[in-house]
């Protein structure tokens, strides 16, 4: 008798968490009923700075307590930070995601997973994907939810995120990155 395939895990990258936080729709991650899990490095990336989405993501995590997948990438990052070394930041989230995928693939039977990324990350990052693992965009995930009748409009979620971003950019300049001293020059578009 064939064994039932295990239900997939849902692993969002930083981009989808930020987009859904701006849209006020982080709960959509729970809508398919899959086990939502967060990769430690990704969670750190979206909560380490005082950004507008941080509170929404922190609150969501506190309410739903998704399991956190621990990675050597994050341990290494923490150790470098603790030692006073300025740690590398670029690409660590993706590295940790890849590590998490490997952990899942090595389980017996292999644990299927749905990896959620923004469009540009899918276009620019290549991953080895074990059988049963899907890499999908936030947009595809939202359209899937709409198709299932679990969401009224996928486009509306994306538009809500953009509206929230514009509102913030125009009304709340103290939080806008244009005033961030990390930016090399006064920001003029």
């Amino acid at each position: 008798m064939a064994q039932a395939r295990p239900a997939p895990l849902l692993l969002p990258d930083a981009g989808p968490l930020i987009t859904l936080a701006y849209a006020g729709q982080l709960d959509l991650l729970l809508r398919p009923g899959w086990s939502l899990q967060l990769v430690d490095m990704v969670l750190h990336e979206v909560t380490r700075n005082a950004t507008p989405s941080r509170d929404a993501i922190t609150d969501f995590v506190a309410r739903h307590r998704p399991p956190i997948i621990e990675t050597a990438t994050f341990r290494h990052h923490q150790a470098r930070s603790a030692s006073g070394t300025v740690p590398r930041k670029a690409g660590l989230g993706e590295l940790a995601m890849q590590e998490a995928i490997q952990q899942l693939a090595l389980q017996e039977p292999p644990q299927p997973a749905v990896l959620l990324f923004e469009d540009h990350k899918i276009a620019s990052t290549s991953f080895f994907l074990p059988e049963g693992t899907l890499r999908v965009s936030t947009r595809a995930f939202l359209i899937f939810l709409e198709g299932k009748g679990w969401l009224a409009s996928a486009a509306e979620v994306e538009q809500a995120a953009i509206r929230a971003g514009r509102l913030l950019a125009t009304r709340n300049s103290k939080d806008f990155p244009g005033d961030d001293p990390r930016i090399r020059e006064p920001y003029v578009l």
Binding site: P8, G15, H120
Partner: protein
Amino acid sequence: MSGNVNFTGSVDRDLLKRAKVIAAKSDTSVNALFNAQLRYLVETFESADASHNANYATLLAFSLGRLDADAALRALGLGSEEDLFLLMVQAHLPMPRLPEAETAEMVKALHELGG
């Protein structure tokens, strides 16, 4: 003297549908909307270019998928993807999009997963 010329292009079906709704609500044409937005983009780009500010060109390259996020973050001196998202929004540039056919394949795969 500048005059109007015709040209041929293609546009996402759903985007055109939404543009037609906006045109109707604004009592104008899709052509007029297209001209206004193209003028905004051209003038913003040229203005930044004239002042030797490469930020808008960087964001445009990211929007068009010609520059990846890490390269855009480095070029702009930003520390997080959220900052990049906010700058894209402020610049009125869309985030990069995968081709619709690729997105449709992902949606199909999700349905097949039996969610």
